[in-house]
């Protein structure tokens, strides 16, 4: 090890804040990229599955419902 103690390792001869900021940002950015990319792929698969379930039940959401006046209740 290049340092005598844990505290020397953290302080890094006064350069600690610079070094640790860089490493923290690097790790967070890469971790974020990985998690975000995984989530994107899973979302696409889940959306497709939901779409297929709807199709199977005969309720395709692609077409908008025909216009009707049934929701209006004049008092």
């Amino acid at each position: 090890m290049a340092f005598d103690s844990i505290s020397a390792f953290i302080v890094m001869g006064g350069h600690g804040p610079y070094v640790w900021t860089c490493y923290a940002v690097f790790v967070l950015a890469l971790l974020g990229l990985g998690v975000w990319s995984r989530r994107q792929r899973n979302t696409v698969l889940r959306t497709q599955k939901r779409q297929m379930d709807l199709e199977q039940n005969g309720r395709v959401t692609d077409k908008p419902a025909p216009a009707s006046f049934t929701r209006i209740h004049p008092s």
Binding site: M1, A2, F3, F9, M12, G13, G14, H15, G16, Y18, V19, T21, C22, Y23, V25, F26, A29, L30, L33, G34, S37, R38, Q40, R41, N42, V44, L45, R46, Q48, K49, M52
Partner: protein, 251 residues
């Protein structure tokens, strides 16, 4: 022979085939990449000796150089894929450009950020408008341009062509980044690694750096596979195999 090449080309162009291959490679890329990167970073942070002039601030090199290296390599890979898109209209090449552009942008940002934070204790300033730093900033804007353009055009084919042309125009910037430290006066130090010469650093410093570069390269491979899979699923969602895959919950 020609027949074989054509077959290979068709196979390689098939998104379904690529999806399967990517799934098989991804665990290896992730595991080996993480081990190499972690080994390089821990070694560089705790065990490599301090630099004679810069003290401990130089330890930023173990993330700065890999990020900057990948930022440029990713752009070169995108340019190669852009040529393939324009000449052979291969869908997979366009999907690659789309998948990795955000990764390239993040790594360029990391190279700039770690460079700025390293510059403060070493040069006494966060930023100078010299050739190396400015051309890296232009690289970041090129990545942003690609990301914006690929979502701005709805038509699949014109989007692919537009993005490919933009990527190819921007490739001019790559040799400028590479030679900026030799052509102009700058605070930035010249390249640590050269293919033709021995590294200018001690082995206790460049071996962990090499580990970190290789590790980040493999991690990029993992990210590229994962993100290309997402793009493939989006494009092919009406095909039989994607529907089967979605029904099986992604396995």
């Amino acid at each position: 022979m020609w027949q074989f090449i054509r077959q290979l080309f068709h196979k390689f162009g098939s998104p379904k085939w690529f999806y399967g291959i990517a799934s098989k490679m991804m665990p290896w890329l992730l595991a080996i990449g993480l081990i190499l990167l972690l080994a390089g970073l821990v070694w560089g942070l705790a065990f490599a000796p301090a630099e004679r002039l810069q003290g401990n601030s130089y330890r930023i090199i173990f993330i700065h150089v890999p990020s900057a290296f990948l930022a440029q390599s990713i752009y070169i890979m995108m340019a190669v894929a852009a040529v393939v898109t324009l000449v052979w209209r291969m869908k997979l090449a366009d999907l690659f450009v789309r998948a990795v552009a955000p990764v390239g942008a993040v790594l360029t940002f990391l190279a700039l950020f770690t460079g700025a934070v390293w510059g403060k204790p070493t040069w006494g300033t966060w930023w100078v408008w010299d050739a190396r730093l400015t051309s890296m900033l232009i690289l970041l804007f090129l990545y942003f341009g690609v990301i914006v353009l690929m979502s701005a055009i709805a038509d699949e084919k014109s989007s692919a062509r537009g993005v490919a042309v933009l990527v190819l125009v921007g490739v001019v910037n790559i040799p400028i980044i590479k030679y900026s430290v030799e052509w102009w006066n700058t605070l930035h130090q010249p390249a640590t690694f050269k293919l033709t010469e021995k590294p200018s650093m001690a082995p206790e410093m460049w071996v962990p750096l090499l580990f970190a570069v290789l590790g980040l390269y493999l991690l990029f491979g993992w990210l590229a596979c994962l993100r290309m899979q997402t793009e493939i699923l989006k494009r092919e969602r009406r095909t039989r195999w994607v529907r089967d895959l979605a029904a099986a919950g992604g396995n």
